[in-house]
Symmetry: C2
Subunit: 229 residues, 2 copies
DNA sequence: GTTAATAGTGAACATATGTGCACTATAAGC
DNA sequence: GCTTATAGTGCACATATGTTCACTATTAAC
């Protein structure tokens, strides 16, 4: 053998990155994505990740089982990749939301709207998070919990900017953010199970989530954290 | 054949019920319970219900796979039985709580304490509910959702008795009850994943849940439902 | 005591699964 | 253009699975 090519799957160091890394890598990334998409698709509806088989995923991806190992060491590694991808879409949403902040009028209602619409549009990713947060293998489950904690902290930081929430110390802000995250996850689960064409049901879920957030914020406006500790 | 015996597994009609239905039925109920327990045990930790195999459950129950069919038509039916059993323990808790009502002082803190202790003591049932509520087969999942809705309505009825919550109409009471249930389920999931010997962590989870409920009730004390609708 | 019902057994089957290995085709590197 | 690396193939294997069927032992019914 002459020389080992750079074994990393990343485009080699200083290359312009967007310029073609060759037909080869592009094809590889395509079937890698096919595998991830296959898993997400199979996960829709009844199935849970731990009940998916490697062969099944490979078949839906249109690839022979052995080819799976060219991309992942096993289903667990694929699961971790799904965690990454799913939270990337969540963080994308937050980034967009922060870059074009909503006017304070009806802020809660419109935030709920934005979030739930996004969850519907990225149904598979949100479904994966919702399911595997509680039932996945411990590596996947812990990875999701970690990301959710991180997201909760970010939300707490955002909340700190509200003048009405001056009564909160850091711990209590996270406590409140956790409550908000729980409520939104609950609404997300309802949305994911709802009939997408039943506008009335979707409306009811949106309204429910909005009221719940308003109730939380109403309580928060009266909250006084213990100054010590 | 002479005469078919009453084919139902129930003791025949007007018998005193508590009197021995015979050695036979007792043995049958024993292995039926062994199957249910086997499934719950396997469900602890990593696994999800949909990843359990019939053979696996039979093996842990100490019975040959074919014997499984003497009790359930398949794993789905066993799952439905687990739903029944799990919610029976939940309702038992509520019944006990109502029969010996707590004094109003520190009511929230002590209710949280009671609930979370119960969840720890009946770890496997609560874990099953928490997991399969979101990831189970649709029959199991829908059965759990239905029971949770029912439980939410019961809680809403209990809440209606509080003088501080006069500002609520029925819909909004259920909205608030849903928020409480979500928060308690969230805390339950944390408890189920926590190290049972780590008293500090358990204490933190209890304290978190208590604060979240207090925040909700603080908001509720200011709430005014729209009188119309 | 004889007979019928049945909970649990053991073996068999067709099929599905994870993983290994030799292979082929093709793009990348020189 | 020749050579090397490698994404994907095809086949094999041991093992696990759901389900069936004839059977056995024990209880219930008369």
């Amino acid at each position: 053998m002459r020389l080992k090519r750079n074994s990393s799957s990343e485009p080699s160091d200083s290359a312009p990155a967007s310029l073609g890394t060759g037909v080869r890598d592009e094809r590889k990334q395509r079937t890698r994505k096919a595998l991830l998409d296959a898993a997400l698709t199979l996960l829709d509806g009844e199935r849970s990740f731990s009940s998916l088989s490697l062969r099944e995923v490979a078949k839906v991806a249109g690839v022979v089982p052995a080819a799976f190992y060219r991309h992942f060491t096993g289903m667990d590694e694929l699961g971790m990749s799904l965690v990454d991808d799913s939270f990337r879409t969540l963080h994308d949403m937050m980034r967009v939301a922060r870059s074009a902040p909503l006017p304070p009028a009806n802020l809660i209602a419109r935030s709920v709207e934005t979030f739930l619409r996004y969850a519907q549009a990225h149904r598979l990713h949100f479904q994966f998070i919702a399911k595997e947060r509680v039932s996945g293998s411990s590596s996947v489950r812990l990875a999701i919990r970690k990301e959710l904690r991180l997201w909760t902290s970010e939300l707490a930081a955002d909340l700190a900017a509200f003048p009405k929430l001056k009564g909160f110390n850091g711990d209590d802000l996270r406590m409140m953010a956790g409550l908000v995250v729980n409520a939104m996850m609950g609404a997300t689960e309802l949305i994911l199970d709802a009939d997408l064409n039943d506008a009335a049901e979707l409306g009811r879920i949106h309204a429910l989530a909005q009221k719940q957030l308003m109730l939380i914020f109403l309580g928060a406006s009266q909250w006084k954290s213990k100054p010590a500790q």
